[in-house]
């Protein structure tokens, strides 16, 4: 971690979520964006089209989402902190390359501004439908990191965290935004300094394995004098294809997961509200958590012992935090037909109830409160 000066003058800004996303990326040191227009994410690329030339960075509009994530992977290996932004259908097109980025341990940030699906769906309406797409969309076994902001301020800050995590763990990091957060306008405070992670370099050591077979290897860029052989096929720690060797496949696929899971305690971030004496807990993330917090407050005014566990990290899943909830019942409000609730059910030791809204509107505190009280 290094403390650096922010590239924006410190102070208060009035950003929409997508603008804060772009500015947070620049603050984090992102100097490469490749993307393709898709609602409701396009403002991120539009702002970066103007801003990246200002800071000596590269903006490329690609011919589709497949090419966008491809260029991001190439840029990462050329040494840049790189990102793309899209929405659900675009993310679907990126999935093969996302698997490649996971397999080749390529650090990058992918912003998914979720909209109502499936397919083209409601291009401008908020939804939380991609939780499982980012987790399981690509083929095979792996772990990724996904964060979800609930405000414009947090969008800005999470972009910095996302780039740091991508570098620390050499993994694609997802920001799970949605059409509501993307177009929400709020005050965003920009600090004078921030902490950023740098890619770990070393000379003459393997780039695809560590001695204990559990950790994150150092990563060279092209042109640094290291022997770089990079492939999406199963490979040993030096990058050589070893597709017929069961030991190598087992070792690699295990490490790709273990390097995240063993550090889950460091990665996972949650926030608790009124949980101390709560009998009922809400578990929510993103824009939905804002409604859940308001519902929690209203419940308190009505004398109900309701608390909120807000997930800032969605993947790896905050299992311990949910398991540790000392309540009699858990409600999971989501803007989908029930995705996170399945994970909560898997780990919780009490009854878990799903609260859904799937019409492309933001769930309201009233709806959540009604679910708790009936």
């Amino acid at each position: 971690m290094e403390r650096i000066k922010n590239i924006l003058p410190p102070g208060e800004y009035f950003f929409e979520g997508n603008e804060a996303c772009a500015e947070g990326a620049l603050a984090a040191g992102c100097r490469f964006f490749a993307g393709y227009p898709i609602s409701p994410s396009s403002e991120i690329m539009e702002r970066l089209a103007r801003r990246l030339p200002d800071v000596g960075g590269v903006f490329i509009q690609m011919e589709d989402e497949i090419a966008s994530i491809g260029a991001v992977i190439g840029a990462a290996w050329a040494g840049a902190k790189a990102m793309t932004a899209t929405s659900g259908p675009g993310l679907t097109l990126m999935l093969e390359n996302i698997g490649y980025a996971i397999m080749t341990e390529t650090p990058c940030v992918i912003v998914d501004v979720q909209r109502a699906g499936p397919s083209t769906g409601q291009a401008t309406r908020p939804y939380q439908g991609d939780l499982m797409q980012v987790r399981w969309g690509s083929s095979g076994d792996y772990q990724i990191i996904a964060l979800s902001p609930w405000s414009v301020q947090e969008m800005y800050e999470m972009m910095v965290e996302a780039f740091n995590l991508a570098e620390d763990y050499r993994v694609p990091v997802f920001i799970m935004s949605d059409a509501a957060i993307a177009h929400l306008r709020e005050t965003c405070t920009v600090s004078e300094e921030l902490s950023i992670s740098h890619r770990v370099k070393s000379h003459g050591t393997p780039h695809f394995g560590t001695e204990d077979q559990l950790g994150v290897p150092p990563m060279a860029s092209f042109g640094e004098g290291e022997e770089l052989l990079i492939t999406g096929s199963t490979h040993d720690e030096l990058g050589y294809r070893r597709t017929q060797d069961p030991t190598v496949q087992k070792r690699l696929v295990s490490r790709l997961s273990e390097k995240i899971l063993r550090n889950a305690r460091d990665i996972i971030q949650t926030e608790g509200y009124f949980l101390e004496d709560a009998e009922v807990a809400l578990v929510a993330y993103g824009i939905c958590a804002r409604a859940a917090l308001e519902a929690t407050k209203r419940a308190h005014q009505a004398g109900l012992k309701v608390g909120l566990l807000r997930l800032k990290t969605l993947w790896p899943f905050p299992e311990e935090e949910i398991k540790g909830l000392k309540v009699q019942k858990i409600f999971v409000p989501e803007m989908n037909l029930g995705q996170m609730v399945r994970e909560a059910e898997r780990v919780a030791e009490v009854e878990v109830v799903s609260v859904n809204r799937v019409d492309g509107e933001v769930i309201t505190p009233g709806e959540i409160l009604e679910a708790i009280t009936t």
């Binding site: 393709y36 227009p37 396009s42 539009e46 089209a49 011919e63 259908p89 397919s119 083209t120």
Partner: protein
Amino acid sequence: MEKHLFLAGHTACYGCGEALGARLVVDAAGPDIITTDATGCLEVFTTRWPQSAWGVPFIHSLFENSAAIASGVEAALKALGRQAEAKVIAQGGDGGTADIGLQALSGMFERGHDILYVCYDNEAYMNTGVQRSGLTPYDSDTRTSPAGKVSWGNRFLKKDMPAIAAAHGVPYIATATVAYPKDLEAKVKKALKITGPKYVQVHVPCPLGWKSDPALTVKVAKLAADTGLYPIFEMENGVITKVRKISKPQKPVAEYLKIQGRFAHLFKKTGGEEEIKKIQEIADANIKRYGLA
């Protein structure tokens, strides 16, 4: 009142060139067609409840696969012995054709499907709010090719889609414009009589994205053709067989550029004259290449 197969009541903007283009294409093709359409303005403004603009069967593909879905429709009709019942017309905008849809279009050309592919070229991604595409002209100001201190707008030339189609051995290729409706209709009719893949690219002004007066859509389109910036021609079996000559005396490109906000920076910033000169060179090269004079 004349009966159209592409109906009124859709939600396109005032002066939309694409709505006009689609009506001319569909009306010229007649009722015995099946249409596919990539994601974009045309899909969005023609299919909104409670009014569909389509008097013929219509299937929205996704963004990248209008040509692929059309390939499936055509091949299945053939397999079922129903190919005489309807012609297949695949449609897409410039982004859906020249960028994300190019791979599927290339496959459609290669396999030789009996499909007319129509690209409505309004020169940017208008449905998502005016971002550049592979068919956005040089120096055009869009949301992702913004003109400003360090840029004159889009730095790339229009992708030469007719030449790409020609390289696939496509037997009939044409460009057309909503400025000359009879010419466009004749090309659609002719294309549908030819067996195999056909490619027709129609220039369709977008007042919103081009920042032009909606009342001047036809005038803007005429100037594009008449300055040589949008050459109008037919290519059969790899040979240019017919061109629309530009009117004499030759109009300078500035006449076309100055009535569109997307080129306004060329007339305001120092150095703009040099850029306009480069655009004139593009037009002059077209005039020479296609013999438009």
